[in-house]
């Protein structure tokens, strides 16, 4: 598995897309910091971008990589290799290279700006951690989609639909249902609703740092316990980890049963 991981990783490192992705984040970081001159504003903008863009790129890139390297995968399958190690290796290769582009691309400008001396370091590291989590989650979801669909066009379609669903439509439905059931106690429902969507989950995680004063404005014991203590942070991280583990399990499961 490690060998395949290494191979996928180096393959991606040489590819143009990784550089484009890296350059994009680098440029973004530089523009935000050096033209804006305001760290807290930069962190807020970055959060918006990370929450929307990282899942999109993760899904598209994952699907693309799977379909592109399909022939190579079939070649590997002919060898006496464990199936799960082939697919996991590829998955990890993609996820690692994407996360590296993200971390380096955003990290470098911030380090040059003097991150270690500023007190925004915690906000920033939280951003990077959630960004990495999102990359791992959405690449895994993308591999799931690609494994289940032989048809490339269909696979891409589903991938974009998945992103659209989780990034925008889910929140719309969520909001409508909260307004619809406003006569009932909703604090538990709203927290559970957040847990079920990794994008919402990472958004909440960042909100805990940035908008804690607004979040505490709501009357509700469950909210208060969730946001007022470290409980929320811990639960969010556990849920994010689960969001990585389940799709990865499905990759293993699906790849073992798939007929090539």
């Amino acid at each position: 598995m490690l060998k395949i991981l290494k191979y996928s990783f180096y393959d991606l490192m040489r590819s143009r897309w990784s550089y484009v992705y890296f350059a994009f984040y680098l440029l973004l970081g530089i523009v935000l910091l050096f033209l804006n001159n305001d760290l807290s504003k930069a962190v807020i903008t970055l959060m918006n971008i990370i929450i929307v863009l990282v899942p999109l790129i993760g899904t598209i890139f994952g699907v693309m990589y799977y379909y592109n390297s399909k022939e190579f995968t079939e070649l590997l399958l002919a060898q006496p290799l464990n199936r799960s190690s082939i697919f996991l290796g590829q998955y990890l290769g993609v996820a690692f290279s994407l996360s590296m582009s993200l971390i380096l691309g955003l990290g470098l400008p911030f380090i040059f700006y003097g991150l270690f001396k500023s007190n925004a370091i915690w906000d920033f590291s939280l951003l990077i951690i959630t960004g990495t989590f999102l990359t791992f989650i959405f690449t895994a979801l993308a591999f799931n989609i690609a494994l289940s669909n032989e048809n490339k066009i269909k696979g891409f379609g589903y991938a974009i639909l998945l992103w659209l669903l989780l990034a925008i439509i889910y929140d719309g439905i969520f909001l409508m249902s909260l307004i619809l059931f406003e006569d009932y106690p909703l604090d538990k429902l709203s927290l559970i609703g957040t847990m079920l969507n990794p994008i919402d989950l990472s958004r909440t995680l960042i909100l805990l740092k940035l908008d804690i004063s607004a979040l505490l404005g709501y009357t509700g014991a469950v909210f208060k316990q969730f946001f007022g203590t470290n409980f929320g942070l811990i639960v969010s991280f556990i849920m994010l980890t689960l969001w990585v583990i389940f799709p990865v399990f499905r990759i293993v499961y699906k790849s073992k049963r798939k007929d090539f």
Partner: protein
């Protein structure tokens, strides 16, 4: 030589003071007089009582003649939780440099560490009060000074704790440089007019850092209020002036930087509101001028609840608040002009420092959160940004004339 000269004159002057003007009475464990009560009993008008270092277990000390009481190296007056400690009922009393502890707690009477009753021209300064029920209680007092005191309570519940500095029907009082912590209300004014409250620090109080009701023409300057249970409440008062105060980290469901209720003709200028759940909560307040304030990282910078007319918001900085302004009605009669909004996305083509597109500070989402508070969890979601944008393009739910026509491009320094 010079030193001797100075010493000599001082000595002569003291001698004069001793013989002609007033007497000096010393209180200490080994002196003739061992208690403050005894000293007051023996003293004549305008005498000075010097209390030496030591522990004096006394309560119900009544000062009924114009005296100056000075503590040397902070002598401790221990009330042993039996009741009120010092009561001033005479004019021209000065109390300076005492350490007063263990005020009795009662559910029927407001025991205070030091109470001023119907007196004028008093001075209470450099006191340290600990383990108290009420701290300094001014009752129908006038023309007094409360300076440089430090009040540290240990309030846990609202119903059995008192306030640090309380004014009731008092006039022309100056409250300066005090530090109050861990009590119910830091500074509480009721029916008290023409007071000056300056350079005080009020933190970690159970309820309000500053609380005032029915008090007119008061000035608040350079005070700091932070981490109080409910922030600062200003109610039913006229012509209040609040300048350069700092309101910080008042977090909670009913927590405000400042809560304004039924306030008219006030001036709120140059204050800083930082990291409060609600910066200013306005209800039924008219003709207030908000100028040059900084609203930084608040949940809601300003929450307008209703019945607020002809208020002016001019030249304020709104920086990174989750919501700049929340409004619960469709009608707007307040003026927003020349503020800096960090969320403003317009442009300035003619380079005059004023954005060419008006800014709408009320978002649709704040309207939704007002209706269904749980939706706060969707803050900063992409979907919310989209509906906010569509509301911005064509306002339906938010007042369409509520906008800043001249939003500034650069932050006001």
């Amino acid at each position: 030589m010079k030193n001797i000269k100075v010493f000599f004159t001082l000595f002569l002057w003291l001698l004069c003071l001793q013989m002609v003007c007033a007497q000096r009475i010393e209180v200490c464990k080994d002196c003739g007089i061992t208690s403050l009560k005894e000293a007051i009993l023996k003293a004549k008008d305008y005498d000075t009582i010097l209390v030496k270092k030591g522990i004096y277990k006394e309560y119900n000390i009544q000062i009924d003649k114009p005296l100056t009481i000075i503590g040397e190296n902070y002598p401790v007056i221990d009330g042993e939780l039996k009741g009120e400690i010092i009561t001033i009922v005479s004019d021209y009393v000065t109390v300076d440099g005492l350490f007063i502890i263990n005020v009795g707690t009662s559910y029927t009477e407001d025991y205070a560490a030091i109470r001023v009753k119907r007196s004028k021209h008093f001075e209470i300064k450099n006191l340290v009060l600990e383990k108290l029920f009420f701290g300094i209680y001014l009752e129908k007092a006038e023309d007094g000074k409360v300076h440089n005191n430090k009040v540290i309570g240990q309030a846990i519940q609202e119903h059995n704790s008192g306030n640090a500095i309380q004014l009731w029907y008092s006039k022309k009082i100056s409250i300066q440089n005090n530090i109050v912590q861990h009590v119910r209300d830091g500074i509480y004014l009721e029916f008290s007019d023409d007071c000056i409250i300056k350079n005080n620090v009020s933190t970690n109080n159970l309820r309000y850092g500053l609380h005032f009701m029915f008090s007119n023409n008061d000035i608040y300057e350079n005070n700091e209020f932070s981490k109080n249970g409910a922030g600062v409440a200003v109610m039913f008062s006229k012509k209040i002036k609040m300048y350069n105060n700092v309101f910080k980290e008042n977090w909670g469901t009913a927590s405000y930087g400042v809560l304004l209720k039924e306030i008219n003709d006030a001036e709120i200028i140059g204050n800083t509101f930082e990291e409060n759940t609600i910066g200013i909560n306005i209800e039924g307040s008219n003709r207030i001028v908000y100028k040059n304030n900084d609203f930084i990282n608040n949940g809601w910078a300003i929450k307008v609840r209703g019945a607020c007319y002809t208020n002016q918001f001019v030249g304020n900085n709104f920086l990174y608040n989750s919501f700049d302004i929340s409004y619960n009605s469709n009608i707007n009669d307040n003026v927003f002009d020349r503020n800096y909004w960090s969320n403003y996305t317009g442009y300035d083509l003619d380079k005059n420092g004023i954005g060419d597109v008006p800014y709408r500070p009320v978002k649709l989402f704040s309207y939704i959160v007002n209706r269904t508070p749980e939706t706060i969890i969707l803050l900063r979601s992409l979907f919310i940004d989209i509906i906010d944008f569509s509301e911005k393009v064509s306002p339906v739910f938010t007042p369409d004339n509520l906008m800043d026509n001249n939003p500034l491009i650069k932050k006001i320094p």
